[in-house]
Amino acid sequence: MITVRGLARQFAVRGRTVDAVKGIDFDVSAGELVGFLGPNGAGKTTTLRMLTTLLRPTGGTGTVAGCDLLADPQGVRRRIGYVAQGGSSWPEARVAEEIETQARLYGLSRAEARRRGALLADELDLADLGQRPTKTLSGGQRRRLDIALGLVHGPELVFLDEPTTGLDPQSRANLWDHVRRMRAEQGMTVFLTTHYLDEADALCDRILVTDHGTIVAEGTPDELKSRVAGDAVTVEVADRAEEAAELAHRLPGAHEVTVNETTVRFRVARGDTALPELLRTLDAQDITMTSVKVNRPTLDDVFLSLTGRSLRDGERPDPAVEATHAA
């Protein structure tokens, strides 16, 4: 559904050149829900604006929904839906008329536009708000309207730019449910950007981790977690903790083994498969284990080990790159 090779974008900021996106390659197959994860200023929005024909790449090639990004931007636009980061509705316009105009701009007849609009409004819990000016909607309602506007023409591929930024936790969870359900019902491909690890974890089949304009890792949430840090295993023993640590160390792939009184900690790629092996060995040596705990690594751990900084640091935007987004 998306094929991108060497896609790059440079901006000239006060006489010097800034590489917002430095030649990235990736593919997204039909039906996938792919997350583009990275801190603010990593090049997420720039990439998305290139994929939605709002920004011409300065390098590379791309095929989006079967159409060439450079040769047939009109064809791309016809097949995709785009939900921008900062919203997309006019404060004075009414919910129903925004949806209807949007649908008709894709060539739908007035009757069809109304029918589809009513259906979508129903699905996205906007049904009773049709005559309300969009400025009176709550943050969550307005975001759902943005999504309705992006989906009203039934696109095969939809881009969501930071869909839940600025929403309260309840509205976020609600929006995630909607995205999952709409995707299941309409079978569309979803490409979303986010700087929330829990969002990527909760929604995406696959994640592209991006930082400083390049893709630094790619995989399913589980793959990423196991590849980078491994599960954290904590074992409590009655005594002979040093011996237990020695045994743990012999497990294939075990690393970062530490002992603290009667507690042995280590990391291993798959804690759930390593554990039975460890239990058998400890048992054979007559070491009594009192408790065991396996913690899956969070995507926070992943991001830290991939980029050397936690995502929280990244939320302080780089002023130079921010300036290029405004330009």
Binding site: T53, L54, R56, G86, S88, W90, P91, A93, R104, Y106
Partner: protein, 255 residues
């Protein structure tokens, strides 16, 4: 493309009719000129040799129509920048709609709004100040106002999309419009008899002067003079250039 133009046009018209403050605010300035400046013009016209023929209202009213169309057209870009900020422009630019139609629909709405404001100005002058102008001339003056609004708003939209600054855009517009207005003889006609020759020549280079002159000729019912023809040609040329610029800017991928 016609269909997309119509969709954008009806959207803009529906939204502006719902909150008709634009009509009132736009009409406020010309009304103030009519009531607070018009009476002075009557006296000045009587005592000034070289003042153009026709009574003062036939000189002032057409000029105010041009001024109103000029201002509402030139500041159309401010509205576009607000739409840009809230994301409406990007949303429309990623739909299947032709990007030229996005411009044409908005420009047409501006033309209709300028014509509506002109009708109000003419009505007030007819009812309050006994304006005595031929109907055909007044109708033509509406058409001139509409085409001027097309030219100005198209240029304004293009410039706004290039600048993308809600702060800088109005200041730049004011800086451009004031000399343009003064040099077009909107308030006092810049005639050979009244102006020093350098000022007169400067005014002749200003395309807006010819539009104001044509508008006044229309109000006099002066169909034979070359003034009307020159003004119309200048105006149509302006509109064509502005639309070309606007279309190019709207179609550009990076806007």
């Amino acid at each position: 493309m016609l269909r997309d133009t119509w969709l954008i046009f009806t959207r803009d018209m529906t939204l502006s009719l719902r909150s008709p403050t634009w009509l009132l605010i736009g009409i406020m300035q010309p009304l103030l000129y009519l009531f607070l400046f018009g009476p002075l013009m009557v006296t000045v016209a009587e005592h000034t040799p070289g003042f153009p023929s026709g009574d003062a209202w036939k000189v002032l009213t057409p000029a105010l129509i041009v001024q109103t169309a000029l201002f509402s057209g030139a500041f159309a870009g401010v509205g576009l920048l607000t739409e840009y900020r809230v994301g409406v422009v990007d949303r429309f630019r990623t739909t299947a709609a032709s990007r030229s139609a996005l411009l044409f629909g908005k420009v047409l709405a501006q033309a209709v709004q300028a014509a509506a404001q002109s009708v109000l100005i003419v009505l007030v002058t007819l009812l309050v100040f006994d304006l005595d102008a031929p109907l055909s001339g007044m109708l033509l003056s509406l058409a001139i106002a509409a085409v001027l609004a097309i030219a100005l708003s198209s240029g304004s939209y293009a410039l706004a999309l290039i600048l993308k600054s809600e702060a800088a855009f109005p200041s730049l517009m004011n800086a451009v419009l004031l000399p343009l207005l003064l040099l077009s003889g909107v308030l006092l006609p810049v005639t050979e008899e009244m102006a020093p020759s350098w000022l007169y020549n400067l005014a002749r280079i200003n395309p807006l002067t010819h539009v104001v002159d044509a508008e006044r000729a229309a109000f006099r019912g002066d169909w034979d003079s070359s003034t009307l023809l020159t003004g119309s040609v200048v105006l149509l040329l302006l509109a064509a250039l502005a639309l070309l610029w606007g279309t190019r800017t709207f179609r550009k991928e990076n806007a």
